[in-house]
């Protein structure tokens, strides 16, 4: 792959107190690549994503973002407000309602649910709303932590297709998941946390 690098991680390490979670994690993420981060529970996948996003400070190593790359983050928690509807939640990122409707529709969230308070939606529908936010940011790099949680098979396929499309349009993503990513081998790379 000759694409330009968007993110370089060198010798990244983190500990909680005396317990080392991981050490010497290094990789380069280039445009058009999806990096799947796998590993057993507690191996540090979520922590790695938070260190990359900058919401947590690391003990050792460096995280270098090239060309001021935009990022979008989807954590374990959806980061949406239950009292607001999906459209109202997304209005922060795109004031134009049409754009928000398009993003939600791409994730397969039916129009009937667009104006309901999110606390009335299922866990999967809330996850779709959070994923729609990722789309709306227009970010070059997506950092997704267990994006398939609570999603049905169809939504799973939709997200996989969106990842492929994102990579093909010059984006990149780091995806921490226990699910197998059914992506083209040309764009998929794997990092196993041990």
């Amino acid at each position: 792959m000759t694409s330009q690098p968007l993110l370089t991680v060198e010798d990244l390490g983190h500990s909680y107190g005396a317990a080392e979670i991981f050490s010497a994690v290094s990789f380069v993420l280039a445009a058009g690549e999806i990096l799947q981060v796998t590993g057993r529970n507690g191996s540090g996948k979520t922590t790695l994503l938070r260190l990359i996003a900058g919401t947590k400070s690391h003990d050792s190593g460096t995280v270098i973002w090239h060309d001021d790359a935009n990022i979008a983050v989807l954590g374990h928690k959806n980061g949406i407000k239950g009292e607001l509807s999906p459209l109202e939640n997304l209005s922060l990122y795109a004031p134009d309602a049409k754009t928000c409707v398009e993003a939600l529709s791409r994730l397969g969230l039916e129009r009937a649910h667009h104006k309901k308070p999110c606390y009335m939606l299922s866990a999967g529908q809330q996850r779709k709303t959070a994923l729609a936010r990722v789309l709306l940011t227009g970010a070059a790099v997506w950092l997704l932590d267990e994006p398939f949680t609570a999603l049905d098979d169809k939504a799973h396929e939709t997200v996989t297709a969106l990842l492929t499309e994102h990579a093909r349009t010059g984006g990149a993503a780091v995806v921490a998941t226990h699910d197998r990513l059914d992506l083209d081998k040309k764009i998929l790379r794997e990092l196993v946390m041990s």
Binding site: A53, T55, K81, E83, Y93, L136, G138
Partner: protein, 223 residues
């Protein structure tokens, strides 16, 4: 590193909309303010009521503000929204300022609407009511900033509400004293300019650096 996201203005209105949806919870501190303030005149002799009115209203307003602050950041931390704020392209301090402004509008502004009614209840002269309102107008931004700082430190803690009160009350005491001094000077026909200017200066400093310090506290708390 940044993400396409939202502006100060858009986030301010987003917070207001959210607070409107949570209006039952938002109304509780205001009801507390009204209920507790209205009890004081019933508990004292008639001639003492106008003298006690400024202190009663100031202390009740302070407690009401503290009551409102418990959820200022806690919900954002719990539902993952804080993470979105932290990766937003705008400085976190600016977004915190927008949230605090929305909080002031939703929780504190309605208190000023109720003040004339309470002034009647306390049989307070109109000029005293004016100075009391002015002292609260100048004092509440600082109280809000002090409380927000404590709320940021307590956001991730289970017993955060108690910690918030323990941190804020001692820090808020000088503001309370200067606010009451302002009213007292006015009641005695003296110039209250010094106390007014102090409260105004504190408000300017608080508004200027408070959101930045609060944002730093939130980052430390989330780490």
């Amino acid at each position: 590193m940044k993400v396409n996201g939202f502006s100060f203005r858009r986030y301010f209105f987003f917070c207001l909309r959210l607070l409107f949806r949570q209006r039952r919870e938002v109304a509780l501190p205001l009801f507390f303010f009204l209920l507790v303030s209205s009890l004081f005149p019933l508990s004292f002799a008639n001639h003492a009521v106008p003298l006690l009115a400024p202190a009663a209203l100031w202390i009740t307003a302070l407690l009401s503000i503290l009551l409102s602050l418990n959820n200022l950041f806690r919900e954002d931390v719990e539902d993952g929204f804080m993470e979105q704020l932290m990766v937003a392209p705008q400085p976190l301090g600016g977004l915190v300022a927008a949230k605090m402004l929305a909080h002031w509008v939703a929780y504190i502004l309605p208190m000023f609407v109720c003040l004339p009614l309470l002034g009647l209840w306390y049989n307070m002269p109109s000029d005293t009511l004016f100075v009391l309102s002015l002292s609260l107008l100048l004092g509440t931004p600082t109280l809000l900033v002090l409380g927000a700082l404590a709320a940021a430190l307590a956001a991730g803690l289970k017993q955060g509400g108690t910690l918030l009160i323990l941190i804020t009350l001692p820090l808020a005491t000088p503001i309370l004293l200067f606010g009451l001094t302002m009213v007292d000077m006015s009641q005695n026909g003296l110039s209250y300019a010094a106390a007014r200017d102090f409260l105004a200066a504190m408000a300017v400093v608080s508004i200027g650096i408070g959101p930045l310090v609060t944002a730093a506290s939130l980052r430390i708390g989330m780490d």
